[in-house]
Symmetry: C2
Amino acid sequence: MNIRENIRPGGRSARVQASVHKAVRDLLSKMDRNEVTIPLIATEAGVTPSTIYRRWGDLQELLADVAVERLRPDAPPKDTGSARSDLEHWAEQYADEMASGPGRAMIRDVLSSVGADTRNAGKCCGYTREQVQAIAERARDRGEEFPDVETVIDEVVAPIMYRILFDDAPPTSAKVLSLVERLFPQRR
Amino acid sequence: MNIRENIRPGGRSARVQASVHKAVRDLLSKMDRNEVTIPLIATEAGVTPSTIYRRWGDLQELLADVAVERLRPDAPPKDTGSARSDLEHWAEQYADEMASGPGRAMIRDVLSSVGADTRNAGKCCGYTREQVQAIAERARDRGEEFPDVETVIDEVVAPIMYRILFDDAPPTSAKVLSLVERLFPQRR
């Protein structure tokens, strides 16, 4: 499915999408996820159910689309003065957000929609990569050394996400800092 | 939910469970996952739908239970003569299995059932930990050095799983070997 591409900003299609997304967010904030249905969303958004089926295919795909949108970072990583502390700050925030109830629900929605393709999940990974890339570029501008972005994904992001999804307890702040520490063995 | 605990092997409860699990596996092998329903499973297993609802609660919980059972390793990791090559062999096989169509579907089923608790997902992580632990113990018996099991989870298992779930392409064999390589910098 090719949902957001080729949508003219401000056009009818964009307005329908914004209205449906808002309806989903509003419904999810006041009822259980299992009770949300496409007819309910359509009523709340003021569109017909067939508009939703035509554009998103099914409920799971729509929920995933909304979740991806909510997982899109709304600001660049905070500039704390050094690459290492930028990464520490970002990684702690990432772990907190993803381990929260809404964070887990969004990850689940994104992963549940993955059929043959991993388009939605890939977008999330793309957002994460962009954030790490921004920290890396700032480090370069400051003349600091910084590990390869893919190494940060493997050694910091992946363990945080694995432990949120599969482990009994989410990673502690100390655990997150120790993951970053391993990438900066010579500093401090 | 507390499904498998306290079931007497060979008793009525165990027979019902085996029969329902088999029905799910059989149905999943011949029809699309979205078409599988509890009434269909009940007919195939020769039990009433209410038996299934009573024991598993809902379809998602039952699919997760079956998936966890299928993800349980059926043999200890292969003994290839050294800790490093044991881990390489195991990690490549793990990546292959999890990245396969059935592997991804099982991971999705396990993660989809995660509501308030992460019991099913935690079991999968537990199986993985046991396999790595077995390699670690064999290494110790041979007098070889071996990293901490949690380090192997963070540096080998987590990146493999993250890239299967979120990245565009599953990890290549070269990528998996490079993850193991980082844990054995001094060898070879």
